[in-house]
Each structure stands twice: as structure tokens, then as C-alpha cells.
Symmetry: C2
Subunit: 491 residues, 2 copies
Amino acid sequence: MLRASSARLNLTVATMSPKALAAEYAVRGPIAVRSGEIDRDLAKGSTKYNFKTTIKLNTGNPQNHEQKPFTFPHQVVSILENPALLKHPELFPADVVERAKFILKETGGVLGAYTATKGFPFARKSVASFIETRDNKAAGRALGAVDPENIFLTNGASQAATVLLTALIDGRNDGLMIPIPQYPLYTATLELLGGSAVPYYLDEKKGWAMSAADLEVAYGKAKDQGITTKAIVVINPGNPTGQVLDRAILQDIVDWAHKRGVLIIADEVYQENIYAPGKKFHSFREVVLTSKGDIPRNVQVASLQTTSKGMFGECGRRGGYMEMLNVPADAMAQVEKLCALHLSPNNCGQIMMDLMTRRPAPGDASYESFNAEFNGVYQSLKERAGLLVTELRKMPGIECQTIEGAMYAFPNLKLPPRFCEEAIKHNEAPDFLWCMRLLEEQGVVTVPGSGFRQVEGTHHVRLTILPPEHEMKDVTQRIAAFHSQVIAKYS
Amino acid sequence: MLRASSARLNLTVATMSPKALAAEYAVRGPIAVRSGEIDRDLAKGSTKYNFKTTIKLNTGNPQNHEQKPFTFPHQVVSILENPALLKHPELFPADVVERAKFILKETGGVLGAYTATKGFPFARKSVASFIETRDNKAAGRALGAVDPENIFLTNGASQAATVLLTALIDGRNDGLMIPIPQYPLYTATLELLGGSAVPYYLDEKKGWAMSAADLEVAYGKAKDQGITTKAIVVINPGNPTGQVLDRAILQDIVDWAHKRGVLIIADEVYQENIYAPGKKFHSFREVVLTSKGDIPRNVQVASLQTTSKGMFGECGRRGGYMEMLNVPADAMAQVEKLCALHLSPNNCGQIMMDLMTRRPAPGDASYESFNAEFNGVYQSLKERAGLLVTELRKMPGIECQTIEGAMYAFPNLKLPPRFCEEAIKHNEAPDFLWCMRLLEEQGVVTVPGSGFRQVEGTHHVRLTILPPEHEMKDVTQRIAAFHSQVIAKYS
């Protein structure tokens, strides 16, 4: 209906910002867009596909896969939205009513206004206290209080990452060290800012391990090209790679960041999603604060968290926080100014983050039912992670590392050379072609490894572990059917 | 407690992005920050100020000024948050229950997941239908359907503006035409993108009118400097200036935009806030679609709306939409990609936008009570706008244009030369000094005109009209007391 881009207009592909055009975000890239078209076809009754529904494994979006929202936070929120419900306390457990009254008191009943740029003070106190408790427990000793002034509530972790990169990066001489494979928000934002990606590689054969020695090599290479590395992104547990980093490697990273004066962007959004026996989450804050010498005062960390992951899975809420360690007050004020351009983080996300970091306590009326819901989700995620890997490993030419944490499998696809040649002939990455055909033929929506960057010549695919148990069989059968056809046809 | 910036660290003022440092956002700038410090002092019982509370007139934040949220949307939302409440339909009017059931059906009950990048389809349909009805009514004839695919739900209008500028602007050769005075999000975002502001001036003496002839002059001047003007921002009703543009000038702007192939960014977030008799809102969409020749097909418009303004005043919700007119599909896909970097707009804001554009209809159980609440807010805003202007005009050396619409007074301050000299000696804009002292001495938080840009040598201040009637006397007395002291001391 609309014409193709015309040079007389200004919002056209021919006249747009080249940086905007260059930014790529595979998680919602061409394959996700195509799946939307197919969904619209199917809704209109189209019978031209081999399947009746698509299955979306491209985003970690639990509530789209039958995961139910938790009862306690939603009961509290329903009262906050409609305080007249307080006239009917018999409809709610006592701790729900109490919590709603507490929040109404803390906010003076004003829940719909812009808040302070950093968010509601009461919610920032809950976050500060959550971080303190978590890290004191992991360290086995008190590491000191978290100042709520160091907490920024954000619209998901994505906004936090964007603000940090905007504060740090201006043009190609500014570098950001990123893991390969990485979460594509980082490279996309770097493109928009014209900055340089300084890659360090995760070692697939060792379960996607990383080594501090590699960091120094990457840093040096960038320096030789005139690039100043300003920060390093560490995603732990890994996305898309699912590894949980051992404390010893976290210590190496901290020591290295100290030596080079590099900010650590600690993408710790999957900190509750750990399934592998013996694996434990350690925050960068805890490691920095238990380090020797002047490290506790001189390594900067910005750590990110979200309501979207963990067991809450409240993705649509766009709740998040960013905790700043060792950032001087004047720089903090600049970060606050950047956040203030969008006034304040959405209040519903702020409240969910409060509820996620301040859960029912032993003795509370909702304690047991909340824990039952929480553990139910955890156990189910753990089982699905195992099930998906087991099934993927049965497929010829597919290797898959153990999913220690997070929400994704990232198997390695050994694709027949003729398949790769065909992809390259179409100017497409081989794993992109694999994912697109998997969608067209079996309706399964995934993200090609090339969207996360990967070692040259290797091919991967990211799939969430989220299909409910009763769908997992169908999902893995669809993938196996498609993949064996590829192997048969192109080998 | 934290050290000043050290060159060994990377998140410091000395090592940050110069673009990030240069961005200014006066609405939450140093005066707002200082008011936060004073609030903390007062909360601790400090008696060193002449006042016991600060009054925040710096942001258009109605629910912070005793405006109550509307009952109907919040009843609906309370059910969506906690569908178990459907077991108690006796607690709600029938249309609330019906609407909640409708939304639960449309979403399959999945309200907590990431949505499509553009937002819930059902909410985009409500927005499309609202726009259609609004414009058909204003035009007196049917202008054609709005395709929900042209609607992006956004986190407030701020996200929409940011995405648009990111799509358009890359470096100093790309220009954005902005009114002077303007809303500072535009200049701040231009700084971040390294783009050029191409100013056109509103004529204060004529009630902040604008003229299309000025646009051509500004465009030409920019062109001579090698700047391509890609878009023009028109804020109607005006922020901070409060004028409501006549249809004839909108037509002139459209004709000019057609001639120059410039996208119109229609910041129409105050479209419901019109108080002056005889003034009426006309959308750019309506004017474009009723224009002659190929204009209806060839002038691009991106129009912005939010849940924060109008009568809803749901600022904290961060709900908004952006409607695209005449944007080719491939460029639209690029804009969608930029939105997708943050996954999807927050669901609570999306739902509020749905409820704001699809209100109780005649015959619905909530129709009368909703209208009573709505009209109550409208009448009160209108009265407060009049009251504030009347009081400001009584003060010596203050001139104030009529507030035809929006939520602000933007009076002209004739400051004594000795006061201005003192400010300049401190390297401050005179109106900044005026605002800072007004805060220190009387606790009133305002935004200096210099934060919005203004004609060189003039001084202004922006104040919201939002203090409730019973506080307005106190507010204007504080300002009058401070201002007469300035005049007495420096004249």
C-alpha cells in the first residue's frame, strides 16, 4: 500500500541514520518478523504451512509459555491499583493487605505520578536490602550496607545498559569489551553510539568458560588500534551460552579490571536461574568487596537486574535495577541526568521490583504458597533445561553444552558444506538460513548464532528452554525432523 | 564518601562521553536536584529554611498535586492484575467487569509477557479507532481508517521522540527544526546524537505564534551551513508556551513540510488540555489528509501521545503511542527494530493507553461517574490556568501570555540589570539564578526559561498550573514575595 522509499521524504531507508540502519537485534530480527506474518496468515485460516501454530523460542518470555504470574505480588498490586478493595480484607491474605497498606503509606497514596528519577525510595530500600543479604550470605560475612542512593530503578535491564553505554561511549575510539557470543543489545547500542566492540571469546569446548588472560590480549589489540576500552560486559549466568562462572574466574576478572581501570558491567539478570549441581551465583559486588588492597574502593561495577527473569518472569512489566559501586558522585549525577531524560522508570515495574526483592517472610500468611509457586517454577525450568539438552544431543551433527543457568540452549550446528554454500550464495549466514527454514517448515522460531556473534566458521542457534513439559516433545520432534532433512538433503 | 573523579576509572566526569555531558535536561536539572536535597534536609527536621515544604512546579505531574486517578481504568486494571476478583463481580460496575473480561480474552489472559514490539493488538486497535473518530469529527467528514500497524505503543512520548531522532539524526550535518522555546528532551537527544538544532522562533508578543515564513528562513540558514533538516518538531498545544495553533498555521506548516520533504514530529501530548474559549485542537494528521494535491500521500507525520497528560495524568505509567503517516514499510520496519532493542513497551502503560482511548460509552454503568471525574479535572485545570496567569500579571516586571492550553505558565521576567550582572558573574543564566533563589528562599521549584532556549536577552520561567486551588494562593504569594525582594534589592 505504501510506496517504497522515496528520496523526497526524510524517514526512508535511503535517508535514515546509517548508525540506526547498522544496528542489529537478532532476538526480534527478520525471523521473528517473519513469524509474525505467518501468525497472521494462520489466524486467517491459511493452510499453506505444515503446522497449525508457531512456537516462539526466540525470547526468554516465560508467561508466554503457560508460566502463571505469582499470586502474592499480583494481589498486592490489585489493591494498589484500586485501594477501595481494602474495604474487603477478607478477599486477601493478611500479609497482602499489610504490604499494600505499607506501600500506600510510603508513597502517600501517590502511585500514579512520575517518581524521583531513581525511583520510589521505599523500593530502592528493598533492593538495597536484598543485595546486602544476598552478598553477605555468599561471602559468609557482612560486606557493609548498600546505599539506596546507589540504586537506579530502570525500565528493565535494557534501559540500564543503554544509559551506561551512552554515558561511556562516544565514537570509534571508545571500546566496550563484550563476550562472544553476547546478548545483541550490546552490539546494537554500540552501533548507535558509533563505538567499537572489543571482543573476548568464550571457550565452547570448556562449557563456554572465559579466561582473564584473553581479556588482556583483547585489550591490547584494541589499544593498538587506538581504542580505549572503557568497560567490560560480563553476562553471568551466560546469555546465550548458559554457563555459570566460578568465583575464581570472577576474581581474575576483577583483578584485571582493577589493573586496567575498566568498569565492569555485570549483567546478572539470570542470577536466580541456576540449575547445575554445585554451581552457585556470586555477584561481582561480593567479589570486589572481598578482594585485597584498594580493589574494594577502586573497581567500578554497574550491576543489572530485571523482573523479567528469575522465577517471576514479569517481562512485560519492564522492571529493573542498576546498582552502582565506586562511581563518584559527580559521575553518578550525570548518569541520573541521562535517566531523567525519560523522567522516571515506569511505576508498575518499580513496584514489581520491590515485591521481587522483598518476598513473603517465614510466618507471613503467603509464605508457604509463595514458596510453593516459586519452587514449582524453579524445578520445572531445571527439568526443561535438562530435557532440551538431552533431546538436542540425540540429533546428528548437533553438540550442546550443559545449561548450567539462564534460559537458553545454544547448540553448535555442524552443517553440511553444501548447505553453507547455499546460504552464502544467498548472502545469508548458514545458521540464519537454518533458522529461517526451521520456521517455514516447522513453525519453530529461534535465533541464529550469528546474531550473537560466534567464532568464525561455527554455527549455532539459541532456543529458550521455556516450552512447557507437555510441549517439549513436540518442539524437539519438529526440530529433529527438520534437521535430519537438512542433513539428508545436503550431505 | 566517594572520591571525586579519578582518571584511573572510566565512569568519571573526566572520562565520560562529551555528548552525554553536554546533554541538558532542565526539567530535572540542578534546581530539581537541589530541591531533593532540601526535601531530605526538611525530612530530617532542618529549620534552616523559610518554609516547611517545597512546592514542585517543575514537571507536569498532576497526581503529585492531589489529582486523583480515575476510578474506571483502575478498577479494570485491578481485575487484570488479579483475575480472581472476577469471582466478586458485585464489587465492580458491570462495564468494568465486561471490559476486564474483554481484555483477558483478547490477550488469552497473558498480560505479563513481553508483547509484540508495537504493543498489544487490541490496544493498538483502540488507539486507531480513537484517532479516526477524533479526526473525522474535526474534519466533518470521514478521512479513512487508521491501520493499527501504523501505531507503536511506547513508554511515554519520550521514548517515541528518542526513537524517531535516533532513526533520523547522525552527526552535525543532520538537523532537527525545533521551536524556541522548546521541550528540552529534543535538544538533549540532539546532543547525544551529535545532531544540529535548527531553531525557529515563537513570537511571544503574539501569544507565542509561529509563522511558516520563519521556517523557510531557518531551513535556508541551516542549508547554508551544510545541514540537512530532516524533521520539524511542532508542539501543539505548546510546551512550555501554552499556545494552541490555529488550523491555518497548521496548514502553512504542512504545505511547507511538503515543499521541503521534511517529516513532521507532531508533539500533540496536550491535545485534550485546551482552555481558551474558541480554541480547538486540530491534529496534523487531519490537516495533511484534508490537504490538496499529493500532500495526503506525501507528507510524513509521526504524532505522539501519552497517558501522562490530558485529564488522565497517569505520568508514572509511562504509556504512550506514536502514529506514523506516510512512512514506507521498509522505514517503518527500521523504526520497529529500534523499538525492539528494548523488547516491548511496558504492559501497564499499554493497557492505560487502551483505556484512555476507549472510555465508557453512553449507557455504560460507569459513563456518568467517569465523565463527572473527567470534567471535574478539566474545569479545575482551566480555573487554575486562569488564576495563575492573573496572579503572575500582578507582579512588577512580569508579563505572562494567556495559557490557551497545556499545563504551564511561561512568564517573561524583566530582571534588573544588576541582578543579571550578578548572575553572569557567577557564570549562570539570570533566570537560572532567579529560579535557584526562589527555591532557596521560598521552596518553590521551577524551571528557568534558559533550559528551554529563548530569545537572547530575554528571561523566563516555566511553572505548572497544577497546584490545587487551595494551594495556589500560597504558591503565588511565595513567588510574589521573592520577586518583589529581587526588584527592591537590585533596582
